[in-house]
Symmetry: C2
Subunit: 156 residues, 2 copies
C-alpha cells in the first residue's frame, strides 16, 4: 500500500515537524520557522544585501524591515508560493491574519496558508479538503482492519 | 474511542455526501448543491421575493440574477459563513474562483471554501490543516494496530 506508506513517513506528534512536510520540494522551507529574536537580524541581513523576500518580489515592491512576509517567504520558491497565496487568499488578508498572531505562531500560519493556497491551485474545487476526504477514507478502511473493530459498524 | 467513532460517521465514498458533513449545524446547507438548470429558477424566485443571498446580505448590496454567490449562499447561516469566507479569502477572490469553474462544480467549491474559512477563523494558526494532522496521526495509530502491519515500521 504505497499510499499508506507515504502517510506513514509523516512525523506524528510534532506540528513543527509536520508542517515542514506540507509543502514539498523546498529545501529551505523549514528555515522560515524562526524565532522573534532571529527575525530582525535575519531581515536586516536580507535587506542589507538588497534582496527582497519572495512576497515583495512577487508584488514588485521594495522589501522593508517592516515587511510582515519577509521572515516566512525568504526561500527558493517563496515568490512562486506567494503567488498562489496572493491569488487564493489575497496578500492583504494574509498580512492582517499574520499581524493578529503572536510572532512565534506566524511561521506555522504562513506554512499552513501556503499549503492551503497551493492545494487550491492544484484542485480548485476541493483544495486541501480532498486530502481530508482521502484521509477519512483511509481511517475508515484501517478501522475495519483492526481486530477489535471487526464486529463494529464504522457508522456507529 | 469516541474520536474514531466520530470519524466513522462520515460517509466514505461520495464527495457529494462528504461535503455536506463539513460545515456542521446547517440543516439547509445541502440544498445549496443544485444543478445549473435549477439555479436560474431558484434565483428568480429568491430575488422575486426581494430577499438577498447571504453573501449580498453580508456585503449590504442588492442581490441580482447575476450574483455568483446566490445559488450557494442561500441558507440560514449563509451570511455568517460568508463573513468568514470574506475575511479569510476575500469576496473578490472567491467570486473569481467560482466563475472559473463549471457551474456543476461550484457548489462543492463553495462548501469547501466555507469549510476552510470557518476552520481558519476557529484556528488562525493551523486552520483546517489541524484536521489533516489529526487524521494523519489517527492513520498512523490505526496502521500499527492492523495485524499485517505489526512488524512494519510506520516510517518506511
Amino acid at each position: 500500500m504505497p499510499q499508506q506508506k507515504a502517510f506513514m513517513t509523516l512525523p506524528s506528534d510534532d506540528y513543527k515537524e509536520q508542517i515542514s512536510t506540507l509543502v514539498p520540494k523546498q529545501t529551505s522551507f523549514r528555515t522560515s520557522i524562526i524565532t522573534s529574536t532571529q527575525i530582525s537580524k535575519r531581515h536586516r541581513t536580507m535587506t542589507g544585501l538588497g534582496s527582497s523576500c519572495g512576497a515583495c518580489k512577487f508584488l514588485r515592491r521594495k522589501c522593508t524591515s517592516e515587511c510582515v512576509f519577509a521572515p516566512y517567504f525568504c526561500y527558493d520558491q517563496a515568490a512562486a508560493h506567494f503567488a498562489a497565496v496572493h491569488k487564493v487568499f489575497g496578500a492583504s488578508n494574509v498580512s492582517k491574519l499574520l499581524l493578529h498572531l503572536p510572532v512565534h505562531n506566524r511561521g506555522d500560519a504562513a506554512i499552513t496558508i501556503s499549503y492551503e493556497a497551493l492545494a487550491r491551485m492544484r484542485d480548485p474545487i476541493y483544495g486541501c479538503v480532498a486530502h481530508i476526504f482521502a484521509l477519512q477514507q483511509q481511517v475508515s478502511k484501517l478501522f475495519l482492519q483492526v481486530p477489535e473493530h471487526f464486529y463494529k459498524s464504522p457508522r456507529i
